[in-house]
């Protein structure tokens, strides 16, 4: 079966690994569409595949017993789903789903593990990504307890902006309410305020970033550290 060459892939992890690392994993990559809403990892179910995104946004969420959902983290072309499999576990309590449609490659967990055994470059790069993801969730916790809803929204919009092409982000208020762990009217109000400052334009199911630098200032230090860790340890992203 033909598989994508390394210069063709847009996933940042697959782009930065050395040629031997890519030779170990490349033949196992199957191109897949990632439609919005697709569940990639079901909480409490055995991992079957990891997904390397070329585009789109994946979201890792946890739920209360009465189905209130909160987002633990997001990833796009800088990451992959199912990275718990790299840590030697077979399942996890979080659900991973596609929140902004895209495309990428899937690889079976057995093939991923075997490729990681063959290549130090691949294994080390993916484990560094796990570290960066933990940094992101740490900053999410900090942001959730220290920032206003508007500040948290600014941070999340920047994180999504990093992972899409262009300045438009297809996000519903429903998704934003999960991202920020607030009720929908709090999202609507925060969007209204940030739009009033001139940082964004909000339309139904679409947000346009108008002034990114102002959003970074407004996020008040809560945005940027995990992203800097990625650039320091792995390479360019977004």
């Amino acid at each position: 079966m033909p598989h994508p060459t390394q210069s063709f892939v847009r996933n940042c992890l697959l782009s930065v690994i050395d040629a031997a690392g890519y030779a170990a994993i490349g033949p196992h990559l199957e191109p897949v569409d990632l439609p919005k809403g697709t569940v990639l990892i079901e909480a409490g179910m055995p991992f079957t595949h990891a997904h390397f995104f070329n585009s789109g946004i994946g979201s890792i969420v946890v739920s209360t017993p009465d189905s209130q959902r909160v987002e633990a983290g997001i990833f796009g072309r800088e990451g992959l789903s199912g990275f718990g499999s790299l840590l030697g576990v077979d399942q996890c309590p979080q659900t991973t789903m596609v929140q902004v449609e895209g495309e990428g490659y899937r690889v079976s967990i057995e093939a991923l593990r075997s490729a990681c055994q063959q290549s130090d470059s691949l294994r080390e790069t993916l484990l560094r990504y796990v570290h960066v993801f933990i940094s992101q969730t740490s900053y999410t916790s900090l942001s959730n307890v220290s920032q206003s809803v508007e500040g948290r929204l600014a941070r999340w919009l920047l994180m999504c902006h990093d992972r899409v092409t262009g300045d438009d982000i297809a996000l519903t208020h429903e998704f934003l309410s999960i991202m920020l762990a607030v009720q929908r009217p709090s999202v609507t109000t925060a969007l209204h305020m940030i739009e009033g400052y001139g940082f964004i334009k909000a339309r139904r199911s679409n947000i346009t970033i108008v002034d990114r630098d102002a959003l970074v200032d407004f996020a008040d230090g809560m945005y940027g550290t995990p992203e800097a860790e990625y650039r320091r340890l792995i390479g360019p992203f977004a």
């Binding site: 206003s148 519903t172 009217p185 709090s186 609507t188 209204h192």
Partner: protein, 83 residues
């Protein structure tokens, strides 16, 4: 289930609810509005700013307003001066 829209009345206009929310009936939608008003008031108080909203207007899919829920209904009764 029906779709209800929680439009928020503010001092100089309305913040429209673009998507609406599913609820079994108007009573359930009112409950949602009270919970949302509590969160909006709490967020404003925590940030040390005046809340933007004054009331929710609960509308149906045709845009007709079915019920108005003032934010003060979300406050504990003894916080409200009833004189």
């Amino acid at each position: 289930m029906s779709r209800f829209y929680l439009h928020q009345q503010i001092a100089n206009g309305i913040i429209e609810d673009p998507d609406g929310t599913e609820a079994v009936d108007l009573t359930a939608a009112k409950h949602e509005a009270i919970l949302a008003a509590r969160q909006l008031l709490a967020n404003a108080i925590l940030s040390g700013v005046a809340p933007l909203g004054i009331a929710f207007q609960i509308a149906d899919e045709t845009g007709q307003v079915l019920l108005e829920v003032p934010f003060r209904d979300a406050l504990p009764p003894h916080f409200i001066n009833t004189d």
